[in-house]
Symmetry: C2
Subunit: 407 residues, 2 copies
C-alpha cells in the first residue's frame, strides 16, 4: 500500500497553498547562517501538534499551545541561535514574533505557531527579528530549503522531505522540515518538525493522527537521552488537495496515518544519522515481546546505552552490552530466551542465542559494524509485539561539540 507513496521535491512547499523562506536576521553572529524561518499558508489550516514533556518548557512551546487550542493555524515562525527558554520575558518575546507575522502577512497572531532553538537562558531580543521581517516576507515562495537551513543548529545537513500519494482519486502532498541534533530524546515530539499537507482533515482527526503517531516514531529516537525543553512537532493541513474532508477514522484516515508514519520515521533516521558527532545510524528492532510497551522499552534502552553507542563507534561486536541494556530496560523479558544479531549491508552476525554468547567470525563482525547503518536485531522469543528505536554512535565529536556549545 505504501508502494504508491512517491518521493517528490519541494519540502514544506510541495503541498498546495504553502510558501516558505529563511533569512539571516542577526540572532546568530555568523552572517552566512540563516536564523529566521517563516512558513505561510494561503488558507487557514487544521493544525495539530505535540510538545516536549520536559517540565522546563520553552516560551514558544507555551505560546504555541495557546494559539493551537482552537485546532487551527496559518503560519509558522521559527528562529535558531536562541531557545528563548528560562527567560523572564520569554512569552512576551514569543508573542511579539507572532505579532510581527500578523503585521506583515495579515494573518492573526493567534493563528501563528512559534518555535525557537539554540542556547537556553539567554535573553532573546526582538530587534534582529524586526529587522529581518521585510526580507523574510518579501522572499516568501518556493523556498522550503532556506527555511530548513534557518532552523539548523548543530545539524550538518538540512532536513527536508516531501511525498505525494493518491487518496480516492485525489493527489495529496505532504512535506516537512525539521532539525536536531543534540538534546534529542523526544518524549511526545522531537526538537522541531514542521509538516505541511494539502489534505482536507478536521483538526480533531489531525490531532489524533499526530498523537497516536509519535509513540512509535519520534518518541523512539534518541541522540543523547536528553529530552529538550523546546521539542515541537506541528502539522498544518490546508485542505487544498480537494479530497472529501476526513472527519472520522475511515480508510483514508488510516492511509494518512501510514503516510505520516513514513514521514516521521524517515525523519527519525535522518536525525539519528546526523546526531551530534555521529558517524553511524543505529536501528534497534526488538521482536517477540509480550507487549508493545515492552518492545519499546527494550529497543530504546539499547540505543540509549552509552556503552552500546561507543562500541558501535569502535565497530566492536560486544553483544554483552546489548544484553546488559535489555536487562535494565524495565521491559518484562525472559533473559534465557533472548537472541541478539548485528546486521548491516556487509552481512549478519548472530551474537547471542537463548541468553548466551555465541562464538562468531570476528572479521565479519568488524566488517558488519564498520558500515554507516547498523541494525541491532533482538528477539525476545516471548510474544508477538515489536518496536524500532533510532539512535547513533557516541564519538569524540559529540564530546567536542557539547564541551563548548555556547561559544
Amino acid at each position: 500500500m505504501l508502494g504508491t507513496l512517491e518521493k517528490i521535491e519541494g519540502g514544506v512547499c510541495a503541498p498546495k497553498g504553502f510558501r516558505a523562506n529563511g533569512v539571516h536576521c542577526g540572532i546568530r553572529k555568523n552572517k552566512k547562517k540563516r536564523d529566521l524561518a517563516l512558513i505561510v499558508s494561503d488558507t487557514r489550516c487544521s493544525a495539530a501538534a505535540v510538545y516536549t514533556q520536559n517540565l522546563v518548557k520553552g516560551a514558544p512551546v507555551i505560546v504555541t499551545k495557546k494559539h493551537l487550542a482552537d485546532g487551527y493555524a496559518q503560519a509558522v515562525i521559527v528562529n535558531s541561535g536562541n531557545a528563548n527558554t528560562c527567560n523572564k520575558d520569554g512569552e512576551e518575546m514569543a508573542e511579539a514574533m507572532c505579532s510581527l507575522v500578523q503585521e506583515y502577512t495579515g494573518i492573526s497572531a493567534s493563528d501563528v505557531i512559534v518555535g525557537s532553538t539554540g542556547v537556553i537562558g539567554q535573553k532573546l531580543s526582538i530587534d534582529p527579528i524586526k529587522e529581518g521581517m521585510p526580507s523574510l516576507f518579501e522572499g516568501l515562495g518556493d523556498n522550503s530549503g532556506a527555511a530548513a537551513e534557518a532552523i539548523m543548529t548543530t545539524d550538518t545537513v538540512k532536513k527536508e522531505l516531501s511525498y505525494k500519494f493518491i487518496l480516492r482519486g485525489k493527489e495529496v502532498r505532504i512535506g516537512a522540515i525539521g532539525k536536531g541534533v543534540g538534546m534529542i530524546c523526544p518524549n511526545m515530539a522531537t526538537m522541531l518538525l514542521f509538516i505541511t499537507t494539502d489534505l482536507a482533515i478536521s483538526p480533531e482527526m489531525l490531532q489524533k493522527a499526530v498523537s497516536d503517531e509519535v509513540v512509535d516514531s519520534l518518541n523512539m529516537l534518541s541522540v543523547d537521552r536528553d529530552t529538550s525543553t523546546n521539542d515541537m512537532m506541528c502539522v498544518l493541513a490546508s485542505g487544498l488537495a480537494g479530497n472529501k474532508p476526513i472527519t472520522f477514522a475511515n480508510a483514508e484516515y488510516k492511509r494518512f496515518t501510514e503516510v505520516l508514519h513514513t514521514v516521521t520515521t524517515n525523519y527519525c533516521r535522518m536525525l539519528a544519522a546526523d546526531g551530534e558527532g555521529a558517524t553511524k545510524l543505529i536501528e534497534c528492532r526488538v521482536k517477540g515481546a509480550k507487549t508493545k510497551e515492552d518492545a519499546r522499552l527494550a529497543a530504546k534502552s539499547v540505543v540509549n546505552s552509552n556503552l552500546v553507542k561507543a562500541m558501535i563507534f569502535g565497530a566492536d561486536a560486544n553483544g554483552g552490552r546489548v544484553m546488559c541494556a535489555l536487562g535494565y530496560s524495565g521491559a518484562n523479558l525472559d533473559v534465557n530466551k533472548i537472541g541478539v544479531s548485528f546486521c548491516s549491508s556487509a552481512g549478519t552476525v548472530e551474537a547471542y542465542k537463548n541468553g548466551c554468547a555465541l562464538v562468531f567470525d570476528e572479521t565479519l563482525a568488524k566488517q558488519v559494524l564498520s558500515r554507516k547503518e547498523i541494525h541491532i536485531v533482538v528477539n525476545l522469543h516471548d510474544g508477538k509485539e515489536e518496536a524500532v528505536a533510532y539512535g547513533c554512535d557516541l564519538t569524540y565529536d559529540y564530546v567536542k561539540i557539547n564541551g563548548d556549545y555556547r561559544s
Copy 2:
C-alpha cells in the same frame, strides 16, 4: 559524632581477623596485571550484600546470593578479566571457584562469596584459577592492596579505604576494597565493593544497615547510566572487636550506619573521580525538595545527563542544561522556583534563580569549572529534603575506552 572516625591503613585487612591477597593467574594476558583476589576471615562472619537489579545477572551474583542465604560467610574470591555472565556453564564455574577456596582453606564452599568482572559473554576457564590458587593461598596476609589491584578493570587507581572508631569503649575497624569504573549506574549495589569489619553484629541487622544504606550512596552514583550485570556490595563482620553484639536498632547500630555511610560515599567519590575517561568529579546536591525521592531523582538526572557531563568537561557554565535535566527527571518540582549554582575551590557562580538565567562573570565561571571537583548545587525551594548524586565528566577518553573494550 563522625569526628571520631579515624582514617587508618590496611584496607580490608585493617579489621581484626582478615587476611587477603591478589595474584596474576592468567585470565588476563598481561602478566603484570593481577587478576585473582582472595579475602579470608579467621572466623565465620555475619554477612550481608546487595546486588544488581539488572535482569541479566552474572553467574557469581546468583551463586553468592545462594551462599549468603543463611546470613554467614567467611571468604571472598574474585577474578577480573572475565565477567562470567551470559555463559552456559557460568554457575558451574562460579561454584568451582568456591570449591577451590574450600580445598585450600578448609572453609565450606557455601560460606564463600564469589565475584567476577570483565567482558560479558566469554567462557571462563577454571584452569588459570586452579593454577593461581597455591600462590594466592600462600601469600594470604596483610595484602589488601594486592587484592584491590586484582579486581581492577579500567580503573586507573586501586580503591582501598579503612577507618577505626570507638563503640562503647571498644575499638572497631572497617575496611573496603572496590572497583569501577565503566557500566556504572548501580541500582541496589555497585560494581564490586567488599567491606570487612570486626564489629559484632547479627546478620539481620547487618543486612538492614546495608540495604538502607545503598539508597543514598551507591545508588546515587553514575558514570555512564549503564547498570551492570555483576554489581555486588558485600560486608563481612567478624565480631572480633569484642563489642556487645548489635542485634537491634540501638545507638551503636545508628553509629555503625553512619560509619558505613562514610565508607560508601567516599567510595562513590573515588569511583566517580576515576570514572572511565573522567577528568573531573561531579557532585550534584539537590536541596529544598518536597520528598527525599524527588531530591534523588533530580540529583541523579543531572549527573546522568551527557550534555551536563560534556559541558563540565569543557568548563562551560551552561546552567540551561542543568535546568533541562531537572525538567525531565520525573521529580515533582516547580520550575519557577529553581536556583542553580556551580561551586568549586575556585569559587561559586549563581547561574539560575527562580527558574530564570542570571548574568554572571564568565571568567570566574571558567575558573570554577576548571577544577578537578565540581559541585552543582540545586535549590528547588519547595521543601526540606535533599540528596547528593555522584558522577563524572564525559570525555574523549570515555569514548576511546569503550569503542574498543574487548581488544
